[in-house]
């Protein structure tokens, strides 16, 4: 736990939850995104519909799911569909309003790498690959990325473009024919980055309590545009922290650090 009375994970989860609007249809990932969605449901957005890429629609997990296909996502769900339906009839059909992604690397234009560090044919580190990320970043109306700041995680250019950001080989999403808005916001442990709607560049949109813009810049591999005015986020409320700690992740599986 930090000196502020909450961990970076708790802080990121609260910030992510606040990005969600009531009634939205959200493609949920396991870990912090799942906690963020369920925190939003328990606070300002009771009407969220959670869809897990495993095929559970309208899940209301009665325990903390530890995998994307956890059986608790099925019991009491509104609908269970095949993976083909998930990607064709929900995602490609434009029904998913918000997608959550993470990544080993996120670059200046919001491109995400979850494939390889180093070259593709001779990788230093082989990462898991796209999973559903490439299509989520393409089709979700908007994508939220969650990642802790570090120079390694935020290079100017990713080693491999797994999931599309806002610019690829000099071309914009519109030029490439992508339906969704892509990674419009990156929720880090210190600040929120947001994509410039014209240039597609990730800029410093808001800092968390007691964070200075310089601290953010030091952990990002490109010259970070600072928005003016620069937003200041409100700290987590005691209510948000109570729900996270007492109800959603009481064993601190995801929220410890």
């Amino acid at each position: 736990m930090g000196t502020d009375g909450y961990t970076p994970s708790e802080l990121m989860t609260v910030m992510a939850a606040r990005e969600l609007r009531d009634g939205e249809v959200v493609f949920v990932g396991i870990g912090l995104p799942n906690l963020a969605c369920n925190l939003a449901r328990a606070t300002h957005a009771p009407g969220l519909t959670l869809i897990y890429e495993s095929g559970a629609v309208g899940a209301t997990p009665s325990r903390l799911p530890v995998s994307i296909g956890d059986p608790c996502l099925v019991t009491g769900a509104l609908m269970v569909v095949s993976i083909a339906d998930v990607f064709q009839y929900f995602l490609q059909n434009g029904l998913i309003e918000v997608g959550f992604l993470g990544g080993a690397q996120i670059d200046q234009y919001g491109n995400i790498n979850t494939t390889t560090i180093g070259s593709y044919s001779h990788p230093t580190v082989r990462l898991p690959g796209s999973g559903g990320a490439a299509e989520i970043a393409t089709h979700a109306h908007r994508t939220l990325v969650m990642s802790r700041l570090s120079k390694r995680a935020f290079p100017a250019t990713v080693d491999f473009h797994t999931s599309p950001g806002h610019r690829y080989q000099g071309r914009s999403r519109a030029e490439l024919g992508m339906p969704g808005a892509g990674p419009v916001k990156v929720i880090t442990d210190k600040a929120l980055l947001a994509a410039n709607t014209t240039t597609g560049e990730l800029e410093l949109d808001a800092v968390y309590p007691n964070v200075k813009p310089d601290e953010v810049q030091q952990q990002v591999g490109w010259e970070l545009e600072v928005r003016n005015p620069l937003n200041q986020t409100e700290p987590p409320t005691s209510d948000e922290l109570r729900i996270l700690r007492d109800i959603l992740d009481p064993n601190k599986i995801y929220l410890e650090a």
């Binding site: 396991i30 993976i83 995602l91 001779h122 082989r126 950001g165 490439l176």
Partner: protein
């Protein structure tokens, strides 16, 4: 004409060296028992395919069964990496595991095209990613009506698909509930199908609720009755996922010596799944499902 076989005979008869093999399952219904039997029988040069190669494919790669992997996400979700896979791909000396890689959506479209027996499938995807640069199997196609550009991927038609399920009759009419993943498409796409079930039931049970049938017997070659055959994966209504084991795999697979010791004890060291379960007598009580039985519906007319 019952198709019920012991696992040993089903694998011996229907899985050959060099085959393209799909043991599907999206978290749910991953047939570890079949993977272990393939390892025991020493199958080689397999092309393994699956959206989410997880621990059982890591074990098969470690055991030397695989020549190639076709996949879209290779990790141990929430727990870490598949280290045998990573070693096989990252190695600097010796022959690397060949890989052919997509996103989930691309894999699904490949398998669905195989099930429908058309040579390719289409999706709106892969603009702005490097995936088409590293695969000759992601190409562009133009809509003959609108002129739009889409992605095309080739059909995937495995030699054999192995699907775990809750129940089937002796002819292979198979019912699944909970997450159905790509089990149906994987079965229809394959030349041969092995169904592994928690229970072989009378045909009357299947016929009482025909909307639950996912795979028709006419495409099934063998039915294996293998209770707990998906452990450490899970079967909705039968047993929970053994998350402790998935977490433990991170440590086991990171160390080639420990991984080999695991295979020696739990794969080569047991003749079958029954013995595997008998050696862990606490498992069944820890993981057996609670009851949440739904109401039936009326099929009358």
């Amino acid at each position: 004409m019952s198709k019920v076989l012991p696992m040993r005979d089903a694998i011996a008869t229907y899985v050959n060296d060099g085959d393209t093999v799909m043991i599907e399952g999206f978290t749910h219904l991953i047939c570890f028992a079949a993977g272990h039997e393939i390892i025991r029988q020493g199958r080689k040069d397999l092309t393994l395919c699956r959206l989410t190669p997880d621990v059982v494919y890591d074990q098969m790669i470690a055991a030397g069964c695989a020549r190639k992997l076709i996949f879209s996400w290779a990790g141990n979700p929430g727990a870490g990496s598949l280290h045998a896979f990573r070693r096989a791909v990252e190695r600097v000396q010796g022959e690397r595991l060949e890989i052919d890689e997509y996103s989930h959506f691309g894999m699904v479209v490949r398998i669905a095209a195989g099930a429908a027996h058309v040579p390719f499938g289409i999706l709106r995807n892969y603009m702005g990613t490097d995936l088409p640069n590293v695969s000759s199997n992601i190409r562009r196609i133009t809509c003959p009506f609108t002129g739009e550009q889409l992605a095309a991927v080739p059909a995937l038609e495995p030699d054999v698909t192995i699907v775990h399920a809750q129940r089937a009759d002796a002819k292979g009419n198979t019912q699944i509930w909970g997450l159905t993943g790509v089990q149906k498409e994987a079965a229809f796409a394959a030349k041969r199908v092995i169904v592994v079930v928690e229970q072989v039931v009378d045909e009357v049970i299947i016929r009482s609720d025909p909307n639950r049938t996912i795979i028709p017997g006419m495409i099934v070659d063998a039915v294996v009755a293998e209770p707990w055959g998906a452990h450490p994966s899970y079967v909705q209504g039968y047993y929970d996922r053994d998350n402790d084991f998935y977490l433990a795999w991170e440590g086991i697979s990171r160390d080639p010596g420990r991984l080999q010791a695991y295979l020696d004890e739990w794969v080569f060291g047991v003749p079958d799944r029954k013995t595997y379960m008998a050696r862990q007598p606490d498992l069944t009580d820890r993981l057996r499902s609670t009851s949440a039985v739904c109401e039936g519906v009326n099929y009358g007319y």
